[in-house]
């Protein structure tokens, strides 16, 4: 028996959300008095022995160029093979985009119950129950997995990375991968920007900013804080900002440490995508804006007057 963690990589580097999954998996292994092992697919440039720092004893690798693009069908089969060969009873993923594609297939393959969107460690006192987000962050469900093998997809930013000083054993896993039926024609990544789903700080603007020409107050603050930028749905719908920035019920759901909302009313569908943020700051000139009910800090004031002063204060704090 062991706990297996899937380490998701992008351009050879292990994603931060996977390091959270690794820390979480190591803790689950401890809970079950067993060992934590990991699997990584494709060519990795990161030093995999260093994954030991997250509590992982062994890292199984399948180093194959063809695996640099994620195809859920091919991946699920390989992960199932490794899981079976090491007798993994709990398999842990980040519930990021790739996790959402692979885990359902793996669940079917291994007849393993899946909880996606987990936010806490499993309760193993009586069965195996995992807390997950439901109703777009408005509630939690405690879901019991009734199968021998269990799969957990952990929401990004819901478990803190913990490190120790240890080295993992890196073990190439000998197998052959199926040819993918999905041909990748191109990938288009926003370079130099922090992906919204991985950002610890997010600065976001709404219709209160009046037009795209006023977005410097959002992007300048984001740059100073090393933050990603986001927006409300009408802002993306009016093409003031790119669609991938849209957060909420129908956009991306995020859970950064700090969500900074400027000129956003805080409609329930917007909150659905951001209410898991640890600290919410709202700048809105309307004291009745619903967002203040969900906020930790706020300023009732005109963004056009307040934001330049905030940006100055942050510059001072950062010494720039």
């Amino acid at each position: 028996m062991s706990v297996l963690i899937f380490l998701d990589q992008s351009e050879g580097q292990i994603k931060k959300s996977s390091l959270e999954a690794a820390s979480y998996g190591a803790k689950v292994a401890q809970q079950l008095s067993t060992s934590a092992e990991a699997i990584v697919l494709g060519n990795v440039t990161d030093d995999l022995a260093a994954i030991g720092n997250y509590g992982i004893g062994k890292v199984h690798t399948i180093n194959n160029d063809a695996l640099n693009n994620m195809d859920a069908q091919v991946y699920a089969k390989l992960i199932a093979e490794v899981a079976t060969s090491i007798g993994a009873k709990v398999i842990i993923f980040s519930n990021n985009f790739n996790g959402k594609a692979i885990t359902p297939r793996l669940s079917v393959r291994l007849k393993a119950g899946l909880v996606s969107g987990a936010v806490a460690l499993p309760d193993t006192t009586n069965g195996f129950t995992v807390k997950k987000n439901v109703f777009s962050g408005k509630a939690f469900a405690n879901v019991t997995i009734n199968t021998d093998i269990k799969i957990i997809a952990l929401n990004p930013n819901s478990y803190s990375i913990t490190t120790t000083d240890a080295k993992a054993e890196v073990l190439p896993f000998a197998t052959t991968a199926d040819a993918s039926k999905v041909q990748v024609i191109s990938t288009d990544k926003v370079v130099g920007e922090i992906p919204l789903s991985e950002a610890e700080i997010v600065v976001s603007g709404g219709r209160g900013l009046k037009g795209p020409e006023n977005w410097a107050m959002v992007t300048d603050l984001a740059k100073l804080l090393g933050a990603a930028t986001a927006c409300s749905r009408p802002v993306a719908d009016s093409d003031w900002r790119p669609h991938h920035e849209h957060v909420g019920q129908t956009g991306l759901a995020i859970a950064p440490n700090l969500y900074f909302a400027i000129g956003i009313s805080g409609a329930i569908q917007h909150l659905a995508g951001v209410n898991r943020s640890k600290v919410i700051v709202v700048i809105n000139k309307d004291p009745e804006a619903p967002f203040f009910k969900a906020a930790d800090y706020g300023i009732v004031g005109d963004a056009f007057e307040v934001m330049p002063k905030i940006i100055d204060a942050v510059k001072k704090l950062k010494g720039v």
């Binding site: 594609a101 996606s116 939690f140 405690n142 659905a272 307040v306």
Partner: protein, 247 residues
């Protein structure tokens, strides 16, 4: 071309979320039900657009749920499906639901199965991938664009920090999100026509659920907001740095 669109019912996005029976059940009293937005706005509308481009296309809808789903299935038919199948079972286990859908999909030999990105109530994001595995078909998740030429699909899907364009030969399963299509409102002709479209109710196949919901919790109530005067915005920066320690 035959397309199967998976339609689920969810509480309206503004519904009050509360639980009954000792926090083991969603309190559905007085709740307005809608078609899950991803299923309606993106999966179904994109399927309708494909049919508009090629009128020989057939669109079937599938819902796993009780008779209380019928009004939302009729609405989906009013938007444009040709006929609907309801598998008469109530479950929140993704594997159980996916197994029922896969059974329908096998019988109907569809070229394309569309699902929404996720249900906005249980947020599984799992049914599409499970259906694909059960059918042994490729699965492209979180698609934002979908075009067809013959039996080749070109699909743009969201990846961390960007997008990827894929080419896949049918048959295949796709989960749909924003970008795929624009929301539509059913018109009078559609609404009238929907009444005479077939809605076939079938009984579920025997499948064991892999998970069960033990209970629900509501998040703890949030402490009230700490307001900073608009005259001293720098105070906010100090609080975020020293008190909240997030910057």
């Amino acid at each position: 071309m035959k397309i199967l669109v998976c339609i689920s019912k969810t509480p309206d996005t503004t519904a009050k979320i509360a639980f009954a029976d000792n926090n083991t059940k969603f309190a559905a009293d007085g709740v307005q039900w809608i078609i899950n937005p991803y299923d309606e706005w993106y999966a179904l509308v994109r399927a309708i657009e494909l049919k508009e481009a090629d009128p020989s296309t057939v669109i079937h809808l599938v819902t796993v749920g009780g008779a209380d789903c019928d009004p939302i299935i009729r609405k989906a038919l009013a938007l444009g499906g040709d006929e609907a199948i309801r598998v008469n079972a109530d479950s929140h286990d993704s594997f159980y639901i996916a197994s029922q859908i896969a059974e329908i999909a096998k019988k109907g030999s569809y070229d394309l199965v569309f699902t929404g990105k996720e249900t906005i109530d249980y947020n599984g994001s799992s049914v599409g991938g499970m259906v694909a595995e059960l059918l042994d078909m490729p699965y492209v998740s979180l698609a934002t664009k979908f075009t067809l030429s013959g039996t080749d699909a070109e699909i743009v899907r969201e990846i961390e920090g960007g997008e990827e364009t894929d080419k896949v030969t049918l048959p295949l399963v796709v989960s749909c999100q924003k970008g795929m299509a624009e929301q539509r409102i059913p018109n009078m002709k559609g609404i009238m026509g929907a009444r005479s479209k077939p809605l076939n109710v079938v009984e579920p196949v025997a499948v064991d659920a892999l998970t069960s919901i033990a209970s629900f919790d509501l998040p703890p109530a949030k402490a009230s907001v700490k307001l900073v005067s608009p005259d001293t915005p720098e105070e906010l920066v100090r609080l975020l740095h020293e008190e909240a320690k997030v910057i």
